[in-house]
């Protein structure tokens, strides 16, 4: 009997709790009029960044394409006269992309980055395929001072690693010194 009363009371309390929500504010963000705040590290549209010197960061290592779980990244490696790699073309199919951010984590040079811009719908699906010129931005993205070639790099014609203009010597990982 007591249990039955408790069960009835439980249901009534449930009803009362829900009724009280009549006077609580709706949590809905009315999106197109009211833009939600997206933090700077929000994961959405992918960009290719440049280093502070204005050079492309991407070294066409293909790690992002390998990491991508939905295989939406495709690129072709090319070499410049110095033997440095760059992407001849770089293509992201955003209709496949699930904005997981694994490409960003895989990138050794901070070239590929996710930005807070999530509004990239298109009526034509073909327009969701972004080429390199669509992806490349003129800034360094989240890492303003990072320049891959100053810390580690590739020897270019006549100069070993770290000897080129504005390049630091590579860190000797076998020594204990900083």
């Amino acid at each position: 009997m007591l249990e039955a009363l408790k069960a009835v009371q439980s249901q009534l309390v449930t009803l009362w709790t829900v009724i009280q929500h009549t006077f609580s504010r709706a949590d809905t963000v009315e999106y197109p009029e009211q833009k939600p705040y997206t933090p700077p590290r929000y994961r959405a549209r992918i960009v290719l960044t440049r280093d502070p010197d204005g050079e492309e960061r991407c070294v066409a290592c293909n790690l992002c394409a390998a990491a991508c779980p939905v295989d939406c990244i495709a690129l072709q490696k090319a070499e410049d006269d110095d033997g440095r790699w760059y992407a001849e073309w770089f293509r992201i199919n955003f209709s496949r992309c699930i904005v997981c951010g694994l490409c960003e984590e895989a990138c050794p040079t901070y070239a590929i980055q996710l930005t807070p811009d999530f509004e990239y719908c298109e009526y034509n699906r073909q327009n969701m395929v972004y080429e390199k010129e669509d992806l490349l931005i003129s800034g360094p993205g989240k890492y303003h001072d990072y320049n891959f070639y100053r810390l580690a790099g590739k020897s270019v014609h006549g100069k070993d690693k770290g000897e080129a203009y504005r390049e630091e010597r590579p860190i000797d990982v076998k020594s204990l010194m900083p």
Partner: protein, 324 residues
């Protein structure tokens, strides 16, 4: 009495036409109302884009459902498949014939009004069952079976719960029951348990949450209307909302004094009370989760039936003592 059928049809033609329009549009508006209320209680907004407060959603939904492809599966039992959704709407609309909306407003003053309501609500069970059977789909069949067992069981308590009111009022006539309440006070007080049993059985009869096991979408796709689309699905939808309005109107009539009330016109009182119960039905949907099937059945037979019988016995005894 015998040759009044045609008179009723002609004399009440206007009332019937108005009622039909009001009920069907109300059923459509309820789609919007329910979604808005659910939104409020779940800290959301609900549909608010089309028209002021989103009321245009009703129109948009109707346009959508009318223009959708009306597909009959090739494996279905065609005739029964088409018949099933009409039954629920027809029976629910017919049941409104005995509801006394206000003094002088109402379609039929049947002296077995309450029994007519019970008869119509029991016939409405066919709609769901036949839909489940004719779809030739295992989920639909399970939904239909559940509906059959559920409605047959809960009909028993529904009828028994109402008999307490009948004993007190001494009549099956809805209008006389309301008039008896004018003299003796609302029956919610002496018939509280009857009201509770009827309310719960009413939810089960109209397949509303939390007792929507025939269409439990988390278990059996969409239950009996899995195969339905377009306006046939729309008829099930309208039938469900008509059921909600009907049960609310009957509760108002039998337990809350129908049109009785101070200051305001009787019809307004009736509509207000009915609206409160419609909102209560939506509240139940927002608040209470669906029980398991065996829980539903054992709750019905082990709790509701004894409660209804004891209520009936006590009411009878009290009336006997008072009269004797």
């Amino acid at each position: 009495m015998n040759d009044t059928w045609l008179d009723i049809l002609i004399g009440n033609g206007l009332v019937i036409a108005i009622l039909l329009v009001v009920l069907l549009s109300l059923a459509a508006v309820l789609i919007w109302l329910e979604r808005r209320l659910l939104g409020i209680w779940q800290d959301r907004l609900g549909p608010n884009r089309v028209g002021p407060l989103g009321i245009g959603q009703v129109l948009a939904d109707m346009i959508k459902i009318f223009t959708k492809e009306d597909w009959i599966p090739p494996f279905a039992d065609r005739a029964v498949f088409i018949l099933a959704p009409t039954i629920v709407v027809i029976t629910m609309l017919l049941a409104f014939a005995v509801v006394p909306f206000a003094p002088g407003i109402g379609i039929s003053d049947l002296n077995i009004g309450l029994l007519f309501f019970l008869a119509m609500s029991s016939l409405a069970a066919y709609s769901v069952m036949l839909a489940g059977y004719s779809s030739n789909n295992k989920y639909a069949l399970i939904g239909g079976l559940r509906a059959a067992a559920q409605t047959v069981s809960y009909e028993v308590f529904m009828g028994l719960a109402l008999m307490g009111v009948v004993i007190l009022a001494g009549s099956f006539n809805m209008r006389e029951i309301v008039q008896a309440q004018a003299a003796n006070g609302w029956y919610i007080v002496p018939q509280f348990f009857g009201f509770v049993v009827f309310l719960i059985a009413g939810i089960a009869e109209s397949h509303r949450l939390p007792f929507d096991l025939p269409e439990a979408e988390h278990e059996i796709v969409a239950g009996f209307h899995t195969e339905y689309s377009g306006m046939k699905f729309g008829l099930f939808f309208i039938g469900e909302y008509l059921g909600v309005i009907l049960i609310s109107a009957i509760i108002t009539t039998l337990f809350f004094g129908g049109w009785l009330g101070p200051w305001l016109p009787p019809l307004v009182w009736f509509c207000l009370k009915t609206l409160v119960f419609i909102c209560f039905f939506v509240l139940l949907r927002a608040a209470i989760p669906r029980p398991r099937y065996d829980q539903l059945m054992s709750f019905g037979w082990k709790v509701m039936l004894p409660l209804a019988l004891v209520n009936l016995m006590v009411t009878g005894a009290v009336v006997l003592v008072q009269e004797g």
